[in-house]
């Protein structure tokens, strides 16, 4: 082969094949959390410990499927997700392993981690009902279930059924009320929607603030993010919303954790556990609270002013593993109810 073509071919291949090299002092993370929400923490970890962190982000379902198909050859050491249900699914799929860590067990309450140690929740978020201040009297709100009441017709904004947060919410309802009642509720909710589900949680807040609806369902950290946003319009929209904690009279408001698990195929198990322990330290927990607008799982960590303004609330004590068990059923239920 003539030299020019040869070098061309070599250049082409060199530009392409970069096989992941497994080296010491490294840990590979598959994260379903967006890069901006986790990278700063990982960078702090590297600075403190000298262990390099390689990050792959993606939708958690995609990551889970990838872990499954990669099997024992997977390079991932840690899986970070945004939802407890997915953590449970990962355990179910056999891609996680138990991590024995007294530090983690001490720092994180039992209801926010897997009893067998396969996964650990690292930050907490709630999914309250947000209402437009001045337009809605909080006294008229009570529970999630009441949202199907015809009085709210055309007044509710919520995102689509492909959101895990909604799927987990519905799963918690199935666990509490049973599938038949939940399906009826879902159909009622869909009938009350001001517009077909579109966009993410922030879009629902903006729509409510702009007058398209009176109520929105969104995660607490999205609202917190908007309140501290550099975008003036976003901030103004968020300021218009009040936070109502539903189901305080019975089981409590639906909560979820984002957490991490050590993968079964992990080649750097020790580093992985160190990373998770780092994320459970008070400094990291406080970072979650202040920077991400989430509630810490470790007890005794003060929350920032934004979250504090919403007051305390009773959280649903449902075992979060149940969210994963009921996920598929929740998705099909939403399909049947016509929740797009």
């Amino acid at each position: 082969m003539p030299r020019s073509t040869h070098s061309l071919l070599v250049a082409a291949i060199a530009a392409l094949t970069t096989l992941p090299v497994l080296a010491e002092g490294e840990v590979n993370v598959y994260s379903a959390r967006k890069e901006d929400l986790i990278k700063p923490l990982l960078d702090r970890f590297t600075v403190q410990t000298g262990i390099k962190v390689n990050l792959v982000t993606g939708k958690e379902d995609a990551l889970l499927t990838r872990l499954q198909s990669e099997g024992a050859a997977s390079p991932a050491d840690v899986l970070v997700t945004t939802d407890a249900g997915r953590l449970h699914r990962a355990k179910d799929a056999g891609v996680t392993q138990a991590a024995a860590s007294p530090a983690l067990e001490a720092a994180i309450p039992a209801s926010y981690r897997d009893p067998e140690g396969h996964w650990f929740g690292l930050s907490l978020r709630a999914r309250p009902i947000l209402y437009v201040k001045g337009k809605v009297d909080p006294a008229s709100l009570s529970t999630y279930e009441a949202l199907a009441d015809p009085m709210w017709k055309g007044k509710v904004c919520v995102r689509g059924s492909d959101s895990i947060y909604n799927q987990s919410l519905v799963a918690s309802l199935i666990a509490a009320d049973g599938p038949a009642a939940t399906e009826t509720w879902a159909k009622g909710l869909v009938a009350n929607l001001a517009k077909p589900p579109q966009g993410g949680d922030r879009d629902q807040v903006k729509a409510a603030a702009a007058g398209q609806c009176d109520l929105a369902i969104a995660n607490t950290y999205y609202l917190a993010g908007m309140l501290t946003s550099a975008d003036a319009a976003e901030q103004a929209a968020a300021k218009q919303m009040g936070v109502f904690w539903p189901n305080q009279g019975d089981r409590g408001t639906h909560v979820n954790v984002s957490g991490a698990a050590v993968t079964k195929a992990a080649k750097h198990k020790a580093e992985a556990i160190r990373l998770m322990e780092f994320m459970a330290t008070p400094e990291s927990q406080a970072w979650y609270a202040e920077v991400n607008g989430e509630y810490p799982v470790a007890p005794g960590i003060p929350v920032g002013p934004t979250l504090a303004a919403w007051g305390t609330f009773k959280a649903d004590t449902l075992n979060l593993a149940r969210l994963g068990e009921l996920n598929a059923e929740a998705t099909k239920l939403m399909d049947r109810a016509g929740w797009k």
Partner: protein
């Protein structure tokens, strides 16, 4: 994009007596490899996935089908009106600004559909500047006025039509210009003005070319993922993702892909048939100066406006919005991370383009030398990849690669006691392979068109002067093909840059592309932040548009008007 070059049948070069035996089987193997994803997907049709498929059939399958059909219908209407109308006006009529519109109408090609979707959402959504200004000016509130909903199926159809009409425009324009001027002149001497000539003579003659362009636009519509996902339109591509990852059933997702391929197959057949007929409709070979209809007064104004709309809304407005956004966040956005992103993306695109070119040369030249039935069929199969949606390719690549990796690993462990881990899946190999499956066709078409213009006597002259076939390729064909080769490189480069669904699924560690970044940020409702990445993609996409427009103006200068 280069599907637009009219396919030229390579004149058969008598097979080299005593030529290397491995060319034929080599090409066949390559074609087989490239068809692997489609074969895998179709193979899944025979795997029962029972319950999940039943659930799909009960609930969402009808939606996928109806939405896809509606979307295609909308895009078809939009591209036909936009593409054919502007093609006729710029090729056959004379009005102020025609010369500029001739090439400017191509600009929307630089815009990926999902980027234009993000842009218009930011602009026209309820909380966006347009509606906000409207409400501020009139004092209306929600419910008082009706404003078209951008994030909807009609909205998606409009977005796709805005960026896909150039396919129809280019092919229709070539058809109109290639028509026998005598035929059009006869129509005029019989008293038909521009309108009637258009409808009764020019349009029917150009129909095969228009249908071919339309098929291409509809194939791209079926393959689109970013736009429909962002707009919440449930189509096959979003359904495939959801079924695969959400419901966790790869077989059912593969079966959905197979159904999608069925639609695509119909379009391919339509396109190929039309292209063959288009050749016979090319009635005039001579290049003549075109006597254009002169439009005056309000007609000229109408023509100007008609041509202005696609250019304005397909390119100027979105590009302007992106530039504005990028400027407002310029102080934070262009950091080291961004440049790493650009570097990664460019390296990936460049490397893939080079590989695609080498393979295209291999296939194209191989077919020239050894036009046996097997080789011709193989080359044609390899050239079908452009019709397969990226989502389908992603499934068709990940599954066999993972299987192969496990197989190799198991074998290596058993025989050598060494674990090779993942060699293919999760590396750039899988990603580049997926790109090649889809975009090799682009390079191949360009190379074949170029080769078709080289007479067989050139090959024979080289051979008679003592050069073996491979050397003739290097010393004679490649220098003569320089223009085509560069075009092929550029087209594949830009296509890789814009690709989204396959990249989302297959990309390796620590590796992001501009397209994925724009998608992630938009999905996170940070539209302004996605502007730098989006703008870079659009700027890169301008390069082939400039190429195309230059060839248009050059051929225009060749015939005086």
């Amino acid at each position: 994009m280069s599907e637009l070059a009219a396919p030229v049948v390579a004149a058969p070069i008598p097979s080299a007596a005593g030529g290397r035996v491995w060319w034929g089987p080599g090409i066949a193997t390559l074609a087989l490899l490239l068809s692997l994803p489609v074969l895998v997907v179709v193979g899944f049709l025979f795997v029962p996935s029972g319950e999940v498929w039943q659930h799909l059939a009960d609930t969402v399958l009808a939606d996928y089908v109806s939405n896809s059909l509606l979307l295609m219908a909308g895009v078809a209407v939009g591209t036909l009106i936009g593409g054919v109308g502007t093609a006729w006006l710029t090729s056959m009529c004379r009005f102020p600004g025609r010369g500029v519109f001739e090439w400017a109408l191509l600009l929307p090609m630089a815009m990926p559909a999902y980027i234009i979707a993000y842009t218009y959402t930011g602009l026209l959504d309820f909380a966006g500047p347009v509606q906000t200004m409207l409400r501020a000016a009139t004092g209306w509130v929600y419910g008082d006025y009706w404003f078209p909903q951008v994030r909807s199926l009609p909205g998606a159809a409009v977005m796709l039509a805005l960026v896909l009409y150039p396919y129809v425009y280019l092919l229709a324009r070539a058809a109109f210009l290639g028509q026998s001027l005598c035929v059009l002149d006869v129509s005029r001497t019989l008293g038909n003005g521009p309108w009637r000539t258009f409808f009764t003579v020019a349009l029917p003659l150009a129909r095969p070319a228009i249908v071919a362009g339309l098929s291409l636009a509809l194939m791209e519509t079926l393959a689109d993922y970013g736009t429909v996902q962002y707009f919440g339109v449930a189509t096959f591509t979003t359904g495939i993702f959801r079924t695969w990852f959400g419901l966790g059933s790869a077989p059912a997702a593969a079966q959905l892909s197979a159904v999608l391929l069925g639609f695509v197959l119909v379009l391919i057949l339509v396109e190929r048939l039309s292209r063959r007929r288009a050749r016979y409709h090319h009635t005039s070979q001579r290049e003549q100066a075109i006597q254009r209809f002169r439009l005056g007064g309000w007609r000229a104004l109408g023509a100007f406006g008609f041509c202005l709309v696609p250019v304005l809304f397909g390119f100027v407005v979105p590009a302007g919005q992106l530039a504005w956004w990028a400027a407002t966040i310029a102080h934070t956005a262009y950091d080291a991370a961004f440049f790493t992103l650009v570097q990664h993306t460019l390296a990936l695109a460049a490397g893939t383009a080079l590989l695609a070119l080498l393979l295209a040369l291999l296939l194209g030249y191989g077919r020239r030398l050894y036009p046996s039935l097997a080789v011709r069929a193989s080359v044609r199969t390899a050239g079908l990849g452009y019709a397969v949606p990226g989502t389908v390719i992603a499934i068709g690549v990940l599954i066999p690669f993972a299987w192969l990796d496990h197989g190799i690993d198991a074998w290596m462990q058993a025989t050598l006691g060494v674990s090779t881990g993942l060699l293919l899946s999760g590396t750039l190999v899988a990603l580049v392979f997926a790109y090649l499956v889809r975009f090799l066709a682009v390079a191949l078409q360009t190379v074949e068109a170029g080769l078709g213009k080289i007479r067989p006597s050139m090959d024979e002259a080289g051979r008679s002067l003592g050069y073996r076939p491979g050397e003739v390729l290097r010393r004679v064909h490649i220098p003569m093909l320089r223009g085509s080769l560069l075009t092929a490189l550029l087209l594949v480069f830009v296509d890789v840059l814009k690709e989204l669904p396959a990249t989302l699924v297959l990309r390796p560690f620590n590796f992001n592309t501009l397209a994925v970044r724009a998608y992630e940020l938009a999905a996170d409702e940070r539209l302004a932040d996605c502007a730098p990445a989006a703008l870079t993609i659009v700027l890169a996409g301008l390069l082939p548009v400039i190429l195309l427009s230059r060839s248009i103006t050059r051929s225009r200068d060749a015939d005086t008007a």
